[in-house]
């Protein structure tokens, strides 16, 4: 199981754009946490998490995203999930996380 992460800062829109490919589970979630925190520490801004190629996430990965969401609230920044696949959409909807993490999913 593996997770590939890539990030770039969009100067025009003043936001981080992070692409996650592969799977987030208990063995790869720490990697995601480090990446989210690293980006946010480098520059406090909104984070767009692009999920087109993310095949799998479970509660461990959702926990990491919720954690980042919480830490970003103090400076009123947001984390937004973009283009999750159907299986991930289903989890976001079951847990009602779509309400706070998605604008269009």
């Amino acid at each position: 199981m593996s997770l590939q992460l890539q990030s770039s800062y969009n100067n025009e829109l003043d936001q981080w754009e992070l692409t996650a490919k592969g799977e987030v589970d208990i063995s790869t979630a720490p990697q995601l946490r480090k990446y989210l925190d690293g980006a946010y520490q480098e520059k406090k801004a909104d984070i767009l998490l692009l999920l087109d190629e993310l095949n799998y996430i479970d509660s461990t990965g959702l926990g990491v995203i919720i954690g980042a969401f919480g830490r970003m609230q103090e400076s009123e920044n947001r984390i937004k999930l973009v283009n999750p696949r159907d299986n991930i959409k289903k989890l976001l909807s079951i847990t009602s996380l779509d309400r706070i993490l998605c604008s269009d999913c």
């Binding site: 199981m1 589970d25 799998y56 479970d58 509660s59 461990t60 959702l62 847990t95 309400r99 706070i100």
Partner: protein, 138 residues
């Protein structure tokens, strides 16, 4: 006639993916559609993750994943001897709020995705979680 498959796995993070892959292949063989295969995959993964995360005494110890396939359903039990917990203390996560908590979603997700879930935990011993999914939910 049902078929029985058993897996014995060390309680380490890196093997949860191995179980997940085996289970999805199995659910696929058993005739579940893509969405149901995903549900089963996530639920089993959550149960294994709980063993690996909360099994305090001896992380290296193995847990068992037992599967029964046939008769229009798949039954999967994840059985550990990782110390158990007091189920009376379990609190359903508060969803739909503006400050969700980082943990506590696992059992909730399992119950949402599977048709039947039975948990038995004995403190000092271990936990057994049995999950059933029907081929076509009546």
């Amino acid at each position: 006639m049902t078929d029985i498959l058993k897996f014995s796995i060390p309680g380490k993070p890196e093997y949860v993916g191995t179980v997940r892959l085996a289970i999805s292949s199995l659910a696929n063989c058993a005739g579940f559609d893509i969405e149901a295969v995903e549900d089963i995959k996530v639920a089993v993964s959550e149960a294994c993750t709980n063993v690996v995360c909360h099994g305090k005494p001896n992380r290296e110890e193995c847990y068992e994943v037992d599967c029964e396939v046939g008769d229009g359903r798949i039954t999967i039990s994840v059985v550990d001897r990782a110390g158990g917990y007091d189920m009376a203390n379990y609190q359903r996560p508060v969803l739909d709020c503006d400050c969700p908590k980082e943990g506590g979603l696992g059992l909730f997700i399992i119950k949402a995705l599977m048709d039947e879930v039975d948990i038995f935990s004995e403190i000092g011993m271990g936990t057994s979680i049995k999950m059933v999914k029907y081929l076509s939910r009546i």
